[in-house]
Assembly symmetry: C2
């Protein structure tokens, strides 16, 4: 297993009154037995493809071939997508910084200045597009595609677009019309990979939504799925909830929130390559469980930087947070950080040390400072920040989120309130079109 979870510093027996009691944790673990049975039955029945897709191999050729084609023709690939269409791809891209393939750039800002800033450093004559939208009608993604395709056609020639662009979008409903994105792709001859209709965007990390960017970034999709499968196998096996890491995580998270009134759920990776993972988790948790006033608020943080910006609040502010720290094995690695003679003796505590020693010391110091203050800390230790580890972590937190939803009585799929917000933005835009032309110059928000 590419990671190890340790919840000892969340227990009341260890850290005192803010920790979870054995009784409360046991109660949630007991309630998880039927929830686990439901999850297993759903997987066996093929009703949870977001998870069981980790066992497929038949769809990988289309992913790697598309990635190879884009890599052949592009020095830069602009990924257009927002929320679940982009966050998994960002996570994989952060793992592959030393990869020799195309550079990936994620576009989700529709601020005109931000759009031009993001384009600033990119030579469109060597660029391609990967456009991701499950519905094929996401306003931001369409806007970015409609703004960029003419520029790309100018820079590379319209006929090159078929070689340099790809689209991931859902098939039309039976009997329904193609979405704007799908119709556009068909008309322009752009390759389309189907977004699995039964997998929501934030659960699509193991589908082409996550694995095509992964492949472009040099992260082998089969390794991601192998890591995911390793975790899913433990879930599908015979073990009881307490011995299955994501089930224990779900029980802990729900039990401690209920028993101690914790309202916030901080995720802080120390390995820099896992920094985007905290943002992926933030959406997964918020959008899956933020219903019926059910869920704690997920908060993304980053070690060691947030020791300098947030630790004061975490230690001495309200005791309303559960902390999940992701530790890397850094000790003894990295460049020397020994002070030169010119620095005098004031930094002697760095003498003989490597950069990884400082990261290891910071990890331990944060964990111990929080626990000493009675703040609950879950530690997840990873051996390496690679595709297999990330696949395992993503599967862990997908299962943890689904099981927590079961305990909370919340359906983790769907996002009804967001859909209402999107409809409101579309209506506002449609209303703009109906306004008299004289109003167009109006500078108001």
């Amino acid at each position: 297993m590419p990671y190890r979870q340790d919840i000892e510093l969340c227990r009341a027996e260890t850290i005192g009154g803010a920790g979870v009691s054995e009784a409360a944790l046991s109660a949630e673990l007991a309630a998880l037995a039927p929830a686990l049975d439901r999850l297993r039955a759903a997987c066996d029945a093929g009703a949870l493809p977001a998870l069981t897709i980790a066992g497929r191999t038949d769809d990988l050729a289309a992913i790697t071939e598309t990635a190879a084609r884009l890599a052949d023709h592009c020095a830069d690939v602009l990924v257009l997508g927002t929320g679940g269409s982009a966050l998994a791809g960002r996570c994989f891209t952060a793992l592959g910084r030393e990869h020799a393939g195309p550079r990936l750039h994620f576009f989700d800002s529709v601020d005109p200045d931000g759009f031009e800033d993001a384009l600033g450093g990119i030579d469109l004559a060597g660029a391609g597009l990967l456009i991701i939208s499950k519905s094929g009608a996401t306003a931001e993604t369409l806007a970015l595609a409609f703004a960029l395709l003419p520029r790309l056609a100018d820079a590379r020639g319209a006929q090159a677009l078929a070689e340099t662009c790809a689209v991931i979008t859902g098939p039309p409903e039976p009997g329904g019309a193609d979405s704007p994105l799908r119709a556009l792709a068909a008309e322009m001859g752009l390759a389309v990979l189907d977004h699995a209709p039964a997998i929501g965007g934030r659960f699509a990390a193991f589908a082409n939504v996550g694995l095509l960017p992964a492949s472009l970034a040099g992260i082998p999709p089969q390794e991601v799925r192998a890591g995911a499968r390793a975790v899913l196998d433990t879930v599908m096996g015979e073990a009881k909830a307490a011995d299955i890491a994501p089930a224990l995580g779900a029980a802990l998270t729900v039990a401690i929130a209920r028993e101690r009134g914790l309202t916030q759920n901080v995720m802080m990776p120390y390995p820099a390559r896992l920094a985007p993972f905290a943002h992926w988790h933030r959406q997964l948790w918020a959008e899956s469980l933020g219903k019926d006033a059910g869920a704690s608020t997920p908060i993304a943080a980053q070690g060691t930087a947030d020791q300098h910006s947030q630790l004061q609040l975490w230690l001495d502010g309200p005791a309303d947070k559960l902390f999940t720290l992701i530790f890397g094995r850094a000790r003894g690695t990295g460049p020397s950080i020994a002070p030169p003679a010119a620095a005098g003796g004031g930094a002697d505590w760095l003498r003989g040390r490597r950069m990884g020693d400082l990261m290891a010391a910071s990890q331990a110091a944060t964990r111990d400072a929080l626990a000493a203050q009675g703040r609950p800390v879950r530690v997840i230790e990873v051996a390496r920040a690679d595709g297999r580890t990330l696949g395992a972590l993503m599967m862990h937190f997908m299962v943890e989120t689904i099981l927590a939803g079961d305990l909370l009585g919340v359906d983790p799929f769907g996002q009804p309130a967001v859909e209402a917000g999107k409809a409101r933005a579309r209506e506002t835009l449609a209303a703009m079109a109906a306004e008299p032309a004289a109003a167009k110059g109006c500078p108001k928000g």
Copy 2:
């Protein structure tokens, strides 16, 4: 004034039960009268240089001359600093993306992989360093400096370092020894700008800590200070609290948290160039007020992306958040996002629109969706995301934070718990040195 604050959608009279009552808001505003008098007296007495430095001009030449020297010799400047030493600089740099000067890169990760990833795209033969640490003993900053200086000396020659590097650090205590960073700079002949001893890192945006990176990024320091002064002038004038934007903000924030039990404080800018500002504010609020269980938790978000990752939770999850949305004037600006004919009719609501129209519609839709759900929303509208606006926003939130501290009975200066955490990390490192050599290969944490 380069921004406009509107709190109507925070009032119970407007949004119902989750809003602040007129009585509660008035009570905090009344309590602010003596707090404002104390703040004005402190400024008049020179006891709050973090704010009154906005009125200085005598220190600007040293800042702009140092920036010009680095710009002459460097295509890239690596800024070493963490927390308050970096966040203001990141904010200014995001404003200046189209500037022709050196590219700025902020280094605060001591993960060995993250360090090498960040270095990957930079040619050290054209690079310089700006090293920022008030204490001159911050572990991460020293580690990065000790790791990078030998590489830079290899790439450019040791004698070039005096032209390509600069240091901002505090002077020694009276009778005390130089910090390691200061001793290093003296020995190597690196230019040192003094970090004002009476200005804490997170309040140092208008000092050289913020303005040297600003100047490197093409943002005129005098414009930043002019924006800050415009806000400070309203504070120092005769107006009553309700007519001073940051005082009204402080009263609102404290009153609504007390009356409605709100525990979280979300800051979401829509202009992409203001995205780092939410992180700057996050540290300012957390580290200043996260004491004695006093403060709400600040949360940084980004429009429009977080509509897709967080809005579900914000609308339908726990009603425990105050939202501050920063709106840009985007309508009618940016590239056309009109759907091409090939997209069919499914995106007709984008016909005739520009990208800025979509941002404007998204801003309005989020505001209205939150208010319709009874969630309190403060709107701050900016005309342009430039140095003057950012200076004004930073001054607004410094004053708001200081006044909120006064209302909460919390000293907003100092960060005792963080200092304890730093000491713990230093002790862990010192203990590593004392361990037998055989333990060095141990892969644990």
